[in-house]
């Protein structure tokens, strides 16, 4: 046959490629296409199965700040199962998040392979080379973010750093999380040298990784690597002996960021969160927000402020929105009791916004003590009015400068070191911003006292921002704090023994009036809630009447946590085996989630289930 003779001529004919698609040569030899590839990696941070909903609304709940109450017939497949530590491997959210995070890893792996191998990266013009270096750095940082999220939820997840098409076998085994974390900590070191500070990348804002954010992420991951995590071999929460090495990394990185002065604290705490809603433009000139996941309306969006956040119900201006996660009733009282700390009323939405009886204006009605939603997300801060339902493109904060300061304070305290500022100064900077003109509390100076102050400060500073659960795990305090919170709630219940009971003077009910909601600053709106017997600063802290004054609505307070009769507590909120607070938590077992059923199936045995779920 003539086949062999004609072969070379038809090779070109058969090399057809659709102009609608790009191959790797095209995508990585042109910086603007490479930029598009990087954009495609960021995508996987958004949407319902990542920081748009599951990771921002549910997964981090179940601590001493926020939770999401389960129902009496506990369903391990429901969204509430994960915050209550009762998810089983068949829970579809586990599957969806797992898939999405690995899709992010794969996209980053492709970029990390092809960018440094490209001609333009090696031999391009200076401008092009610089761009390609930044993109490479971003890809490394994004991959680190995805792996960090996977590891802190599942532990020894399979790890690959090459594109899936290059894998000799697709059936990866569990990889030791310490080495995976070491890998990404090293990657982040590479990345931070490639990506410049935010002021050199003005169009990045804090929607893409800049040097400060990469350093902050590296510090955060280093603290996790140097912290506790649940081990499958010993079935215990353990930290590695060389943990101080990682505290040193965190110390170095945070100190770099502090010394750079490229980021600072936003003087107005509330404006950090308003900025995320972008309804009124950005209000963060200090660049406290160092990296946030930029959501986009109805395509790659978040449920923040729409399903999760302050509740709006039939409001003439904003319709219905909000709900989901609720604070432990005790969280409110963790803040300064005299109301000096502005963070309380930003973090905790103590009322819901409704329609006035004459259907003309927005009013607020206080909610009961267990129904405070996350106040950091409010539809009234978006540009969306009442007729629009759905999602609003509210961003999720991954890293803020306050975290840099507190990580620095923690690491420096652990190492007994101080750089350009002292650990005490770092902590107090965060406190002082919250207290404004008020005097901040006295800070302990001993190692343990200072550590506990950091633990407490992080509780107050980052409420509802998806940080607490993973802090508690790396400190091995998750079980402790859950038990502590339960104990506090038992004291919070009515008729509890008043001895050494911080809640002894609190009311069983408060009696509220409807008051106007004017979308003013959070502290003003909270302070203008109307009650029988005075403002919230009075009625939330003093025993009032138990009979309903005319014209008021009953707002359950201590009564919501239960009631003691003859030494027996009747309640469902605290310790019901299904509906109770963190009802399915077991220390040294539930700190990690189960691998989804489909992952076990499709991996044909190469991925081993976390021990608590076997």
């Amino acid at each position: 046959m003539v086949v062999s003779a004609a072969l070379p001529s038809c090779k070109k004919y058969l090399d057809y490629q659709s102009p609608a698609k790009l191959n790797t040569d095209q995508a990585f030899e042109d910086p603007s296409y490479t930029n598009s590839v990087i954009i495609g990696i960021y995508t996987k941070l958004c949407g319902s199965n990542a920081y748009g909903n599951q990771l921002s609304v549910y997964w981090h709940l179940g601590t001493d700040e926020f939770t999401y109450q389960a129902s009496t017939s506990f369903d391990s497949g429901n969204d509430y199962a994960i915050p209550n530590y009762g998810a089983e491997k068949t829970n579809t959210s586990l599957q969806n998040v797992f898939n999405q995070l690995y899709a992010g890893v794969e996209r980053a792996n492709i970029a990390c392979k092809f960018i440094p191998a490209s001609n333009v990266y090696k031999n391009g013009s200076t401008t092009d080379k610089t761009k390609m270096q930044i993109y490479y750095g971003e890809a490394l940082a994004l991959r680190a973010q995805y792996y960090y999220e996977l590891i802190r939820n599942w532990g020894d997840v399979p790890a690959t750093f090459v594109p899936a098409a290059d894998l000799p076998s697709q059936f990866l085994k569990n990889a030791n999380r310490d080495s995976t974390l070491d890998h990404i900590i090293a990657d982040l070191k590479t990345a931070e040298d490639l990506v410049p500070w935010r002021d050199a990348l003005p169009d990045y804002g804090d929607f893409r990784f800049t040097k400060g954010a990469i350093k902050g992420l590296r510090a955060r991951i280093a603290l996790a690597r140097g912290g506790y995590s649940l081990r499958n071999d010993t079935k215990l929460m353990e930290r590695r002996a060389d943990y101080l090495k990682y505290y040193q990394i965190a110390y170095d990185e945070t100190l770099d960021v502090i010394n750079s002065k490229k980021h600072g604290l936003n003087p107005v705490y509330e404006n950090i969160f308003k900025t995320l809603h972008s309804g009124t433009g950005r209000m963060d000139d200090a660049h406290e927000l160092m990296f946030e996941v930029a959501m986009w309306g109805q395509i790659n969006d978040s449920n923040l402020a729409s399903a999760n956040g302050m509740t709006f119900s039939n409001s003439p201006s904003w319709g219905g929105a909000g709900g989901r996660s609720t604070a432990q009733p005790t969280y409110y009282y963790e803040f300064d009791n005299s109301g000096k700390d502005v963070r309380r009323d930003v973090t905790l939405a103590q009322y819901k916004v409704q329609n006035s009886t004459d259907n003309t204006s927005n009013v607020k009605n206080p909610v009961s003590s267990i129904n405070f939603n996350v106040g950091k997300f409010r539809k009234s801060w978006t540009a969306f009015n009442g007729t629009v339902t759905g999602t609003y493109g509210v961003n999720w904060p991954i890293l803020r400068y306050a975290d840099i300061l507190l990580m620095y304070a923690e690491a420096a305290n652990e190492l007994g070191k101080a750089g350009s500022i002292s650990p005490m100064q770092a902590l107090q900077m965060v406190q002082q911003r919250a207290y404004g003109a008020n005097t901040i509390p006295v800070t302990p100076t001993d190692h343990d006292g200072f550590f506990n102050a950091v633990v407490h400060e992080r509780l107050l500073e980052f409420g509802g921002e998806g940080i607490r659960k993973y802090d508690l795990i790396r400190w091995n305090l998750l079980g402790t704090k859950i038990e502590e919170t339960k104990a506090k709630m038992r004291m919070f219940a009515t008729n509890a023994d008043p001895t050494n009971n911080p809640y002894a003077n609190l009311p069983a009910y408060v009696w509220s009036y409807t008051s106007p909601f004017n979308n003013l600053d959070s502290n003003t709106e909270a302070a203008t809630m109307s009650f029988y017997g005075g403002g919230p600063s009075i009625v939330f802290f003093t025993k009032g009447t138990t009979t309903q004054p005319p014209g008021t609505a009953r707002v359950y307070w201590r009564q919501e946590c239960g009631s003691w009769t003859n030494g027996v507590l009747s309640e469902t909120y605290i310790s019901d085996p299904n509906k109770g607070f963190c009802s399915k938590f077991k220390p040294n077992a539930k700190e990690l989630l189960p691998y989804p059923q489909n992952v076990l199936t499709e991996n044909r045995g190469s991925v081993v289930q976390n021990f608590a779920y076997n």
């Binding site: 086949v3 004919y13 697709q170 009015n385 991996n603």
Partner: protein, 1090 residues
């Protein structure tokens, strides 16, 4: 035609002159004394001859003296020799039809790039000719093909105008890819051939079934090849013929539902009994009921409400149809032409659904010289299909048949579509008013196709034929669709964020071109008298290019009509903060480069050996795997040619032929995107990020996990056939047995999720089809005035999955119509299309409960030990009397039905299928009757699952059988709590109460899909020639009446047992969900020739 050409050729070549001549005149007539046009007359022993004109008359110059013998020939008639006396001037000849040639149908079979006589055919080829199609006034070839050929399964998936007809040859080997055959029209491949060729244009259809035959077409022939030859012009006077028919369609059955009182009575039960069995006390629900239907004491009034039969209102019309075909045919010695124009205007039975289609085709064949021929084929088709239909590939909320079945069976005052955020009760109905929906949801699908081809044939010597065929096809498609506020997806509470309760449209444009060029050299020679050799070498390219544009535009003013919306898209205004979706475009393309060769050797026309090889290169595979080589061989042995057979002197056995073949072929039917490489595509949804906070940037991402090892899927086929011809061809029988095995299946398989993808295209697994085909045809009665020809075919096919990916033994697949869990099982060793679900076991009666432990007063029901707990059906942990009951199929301690109790409920594969065609003629009357049948296949009646359930929505009607359901509401509207009263009330209960939980697949819904369909009955009358002669214009006039889809004998309870609406995935066949109902079509027509 071949014979005509040959005669023409002879006439041209051989001319000799007589010195003295006289003229003989006369007329040649056929069976019914009709004039035979173009009959040839030859003076025996000479080359002198002529042909009859349009009136059948001839004039022939013969030697002046002596007798001559005229040899009169006409296709389909026995050749007659007539002696012309010395003085005779007028000789009329009446020819007798030759049954033998008629029965053997196609003497010449197209085997790809060339033809052979049926005698020497070695492959499994089924053919159908224009004669078989002429009595079927159907608008597409696909409809005409159904049931006609053994091994060829043509399934009409829905009754909508222009609906898909799925053709499968010998089962189909691919699991997830397209199994449709390759269509070659006059030498050019054409994807949608069956829907854009008018049946009246067809000369022949040859279906190559064994892979050894299809292998000549290589890559795309693995699922069989359908070769369509259209009518060419005929030399002679221009003949104009006109065929026209018109008629009406009407649906044949309805799904019976509850009448107004029964409906309201059922709604009452629904709103007063909680799905856990207890009473509903929730005030909005109870008040909602009163607001919509009234108080319990007033419900009797519904007995006097006139029932509105929505199905009748939406599908009940007489759908008028008419088709006209005009053909002009003629030619000279040098060139022939055929022009045909076909116009169809077809209403669907559903309101506002119709189809308008015009085909125009021109074929011109030209002899430039005796060695050079040139031909051109131009075809244009323009089609418009209106109507959104009933089915959609989406889930249950996108499918629309339920509107007509489930909407309240009376005209009510309450408008259920109104969006009211405070009235949860109202907007959970999930339905649109069927009439409003049918009339306001618009879909117009336009398609324009231009198909052109040209061919040049050069015959330097009679032994050598060099041919080049160039084809160019262009398809333009446009679909406009409009969803108004009546559409549930627009106005429902759940979708309000997406559409803000405002109408939206979508426009999708597609444009595809195909260029094909094949060049062949064919050398035929005889060596001595015993050896015949035919060698064909060829090369071919095939390239496809497609581009598409899609745009959805939302937020039109509520009152806009479809026409206004399409005419003025600028009027769409997004509410503040909302954005319009971006348009999307795509370009796809693939290339195929092939070489092929075929050597045929025949010894004494007794032993025929064929060897084929094809080498295909495809742009879909990487350099290393691009080329596939596929060799095949065939052998045919004409036993009757053997001397020992001849000695037996079996006069009744005219021909006995044994065929055997072994073939291989490749298949590359996967996406044309370079699946072997990492390829980036742009997407706003899958790769977008709001990097600037004020807008979103669309990024690039790799949508598929590249597989550099992707290669050709290979089909290996073995075929053994026997052809028997009896009594000089009065009866023919054909048997074929085959085993087709597909290896290295191109399958989209699940991969570990850490790859970042969920699936990847891989070459994995294998399937096998084993089968037997029988084809019989013959003349049963052959009298002067009465003829009965009959043909019958029967096919058995056994499909088996031989292997799946990486040792996986089985997995579950969901057809996705709305059921809660997977409904198909894919298992090694089993066929494709196993229905999977729970086994139903009637319903719970009081006998199932332990009276001592139960407490009806507190709605507490305790099952007797060992009675299966089917709570999975209603999604509640309690079971109570009247609920559907399931059978426990696995042993567990607690007899609770779990997902593990699901089992195989039947197979969609028929045990056998076939067709039986009868053609009768009595004097000038003709009649034909065609039935086709399928036996042993199961059909998933998913409609009944939905219509037996209340899932997620109140206010929906249910099947009429629920009038006899188990009842829980007492005479005063109270939930009954007394054991004995409940028992008394339900003595006559025949069925469960409609289910409350998610839709579950149960054995109740898997029905026997066997059927025997009277597909076509035609009665025709041809006016006698002598009557027509008077007109001196019309040469043939036939009038007829036809009923298509006359009656279907089946146990299936849905609209039609052939329905298949989840057809995008080959793994989920035979699901009847929301299919457009099929109709009976009665029509009358006329065939007219001038």
């Amino acid at each position: 035609m071949k014979r005509v050409l040959l005669q023409a050729f002879l006439l041209l070549l051989c001319t000799s002159v007589w010195a003295q001549t006289r003229v003989v005149m006369g007329k040649v007539t056929g069976t019914n004394q009709e004039a035979l046009i173009g009959a040839s007359l030859l003076v025996k022993g000479t080359s002198k001859g002529t042909a009859t004109d349009v009136s059948g008359n001839y004039k022939l110059t013969v030697p002046a003296s002596g007798q001559v013998v005229l040899v009169v020939k006409y296709i389909g008639y026995q050749t007659k020799e007539v002696t012309v006396g010395a003085q005779q001037m007028q000789v009329n000849v009446a020819l007798q039809e030759d049954k033998a040639t008629q029965l053997s149908e196609v003497a010449v079979v197209n085997i790809g790039y060339s033809s052979v006589s049926r005698n020497s055919l070695a492959g499994a080829v089924s053919s159908i000719s224009q004669k078989d199609l002429k009595d079927f006034p159907v608008s597409t070839v696909a409809e005409a093909l159904a049931g006609k050929l053994a091994g060829v399964q043509a399934q009409t998936s829905e009754g909508a105008p222009g609906a898909d007809i799925k053709i499968t040859i010998r089962g189909g080997g691919s699991l997830t890819q397209d199994n449709s055959p390759l269509y070659i029209v006059d030498g050019v491949p054409l994807d949608n051939a069956l829907s854009i060729i008018s049946p009246s244009e067809i000369q022949n259809i040859d279906v190559l079934k064994d892979v050894a035959s299809t292998a000549i077409y290589g890559a795309r022939g693995a699922n069989g090849v359908v070769i369509i030859t259209t009518k060419a012009g005929k030399k002679g006077r221009t003949i104009i013929s006109f065929d026209g028919y018109a008629g009406a369609r009407k649906i044949t059955n309805e799904i019976k539902v509850l009448d107004p009182y029964q409906f309201v009575d059922y709604q009452y039960e629904l709103t007063h009994q909680h799905y856990n069995g207890g009473p509903i006390t929730d005030t909005p629900t109870l008040n909602g009921f009163i607001r919509n239907y009234g108080n319990f004491s007033d419900l009797q009034i519904y007995k006097s409400f006139p029932t509105v039969d929505w199905q009748n209102k939406v599908f009940g019309r007489n759908a008028f149809n008419n088709t006209q075909v005009l053909t002009v045919n003629g030619g000279t010695d040098a060139s022939t032409y055929n022009f045909s124009i076909n116009n169809t205007d077809e209403q669907g039975v559903m309101l506002a659904s119709d189809l308008k289609r015009t085909f125009a085709t021109f074929r011109w064949d030209n002899n430039i010289s005796s060695k050079l021929r040139f031909g051109v084929n131009v075809r244009y088709s323009r089609q418009r299909v209106d109507g959104a239909g009933t089915s959609s590939t989406g889930g249950s909320s996108n499918n629309k048949l339920k509107y007509s079945v489930r909407f309240q069976p009376y005209q009510g005052l309450v408008n259920f579509q109104e969006y009211d955020p405070d009235a949860i009760f109202d907007n959970t109905i999930n339905l649109s008013n069927p009439l409003t929906s049918a009339l306001t949801d618009v879909r117009n699908a336009y398609s324009n196709n231009l198909i052109t081809s040209g061919q040049v044939t050069y015959i330097p010597t009679p032994k050598l034929t060099i041919r080049s065929v160039l084809g160019y096809t262009l398809a333009d498609n446009k679909t406009n669709s409009f969803s108004g506020v009546a559409n549930y997806s627009v106005s429902s509470k759940n979708s309000s964020s997406q559409y803000a309760s405002q109408p939206f449209i979508s426009i999708s444009l597609g444009n595809n071109t195909n260029i094909t060029n094949s060049n062949t050299v064919d050398y035929r020679t005889n060596i001595g008298t015993n050896h015949t050799i035919d060698i064909l070498l060829g090369q071919e390219i095939n390239q496809n290019n497609g581009n598409s544009f899609n745009q959805t535009i939302k937020y039109f003013p509520s009152a806009v009509t479809a026409q206004q919306a399409f005419a003025n898209v600028q009027q769409a205004n997004p509410p503040s903060g909302a954005i319009q979706p971006s348009p999307t475009t795509d370009v796809t393309g693939d290339r195929l480069f092939s070489f092929f060769g075929r050597a045929m050797y025949s010894f004494k026309n007794k032993y025929n050996f064929n060897f084929l090889i094809r080498r295909d290169g495809s742009s879909k595979f990487s350099d290393a795997n691009r080329w596939g080589t596929f060799p095949s061989a065939q052998f045919a042995w004409r036993i009757t040619e053997e001397d020992f057979m001849k000695k037996l002197n079996l006069n009744w056995l005219s021909n006995l032929k044994l065929r055997a073949s072994y073939g291989t072929a490749g298949n590359n039917r996967v996406s044309s995107d370079r699946l072997y490489q990492t390829i980036f595509t742009t997407s706003a949804t899958d790769a977008g990020y709001a990097a600037s906070d004020n807008s979103q940037t669309s990024g690039l991402y790799s949508a598929n996990l590249a597989n550099p090892n992707l290669k050709w899927e290979t089909t290996i086929s073995k075929d053994l056939g026997l052809d028997i011809e009896l009594w000089g061809g009065r009866a023919t029988l054909s048997f074929d047995g085959y085993i087709n095995r597909v290896n290295d299946l191109l399958l989209q398989t699940n991969v570990p999720q850490e790859t970042g993808y969920l699936t990847q295209y891989q070459n994995i697994g294998a399937t096998q089809n084993k089968g037997l085909e029988i084809q019989l045809s013959g003349t049963i009665i052959n009298k002067k005035d009465f003829n009965w020809n009959s043909s019958f075919n029967l096919s058995f096919n056994r499909n088996t999955i031989v292997a799946l990916q990486g040792g996986v033994q089985s997995y579950l697949v969901s057809s996705g119509w709305g059921q809660s869990s997977e409904d198909f099982l894919v298992q090694v060793g089993q066929p494709v299309g196993l229905f999977y679900g729970y086994v139903s076991d009637g319903f719970y009666t009081l006998n199932d409960f332990d009276r001592a432990k139960s407490d009806p007063a507190n709605y507490k029901w305790v099952l007797k030990p060992g009675v299966a707990n089917s709570s999975v059906i209603d999604g509640s942990s309690n079971v109570y009397p009247g609920q559907m009951k399931l059978k426990k199929t696995t042993a567990t301690a607690d007899s609770v039905i779990r997902t593990t109790d699901r089992t195989v409920l039947g197979s969609a594969q028929p045990k056998f299928y076939g067709g039986w065609n009868n053609q009768f003629s009595y004097k000038n009357f003709d009649m034909s009757l065609f039935v086709n049948f399928s036996y042993g296949n199961k059909e998933y009646n998913a409609n009944t699952v939905e219509y037996s359930s209340v899932y997620q929505a109140n206010g929906n009607n249910v099947l009429a059988k629920f009038a006899d359901r188990w009842r829980s509401i007492g005479p005063n509207g109270e939930l009954m709590t007394n054991w004995d009263q409940i028992a008394a009330m339900n003595v006559n209960a025949k069925t469960y109460s409609p289910t409350r939980g998610p839709y579950q697949t149960t054995s109740d819904a898997i029905e026997d899909g066997s059927f025997l369909r009277i597909t076509n009955l035609t009665l025709g009358y041809t006016l006698p020639a002598r009557v027509l002669q008077a007109t001196n214009l019309v040469s043939r006039l036939r009038v007829y009446v036809t009923v298509n889809n006359l009656y279907t004998f089946t146990k299936y309870t849905g609209y039609d047992p052939e329905a298949s609406t989840r057809r995008s995935n080959p793994l989920t066949p035979a699901v009847d969900y929301s299919a457009y109902p099929r109709s009976r079509y009665i029509l009358a027509g006329v065939n007219l020739s001038f």
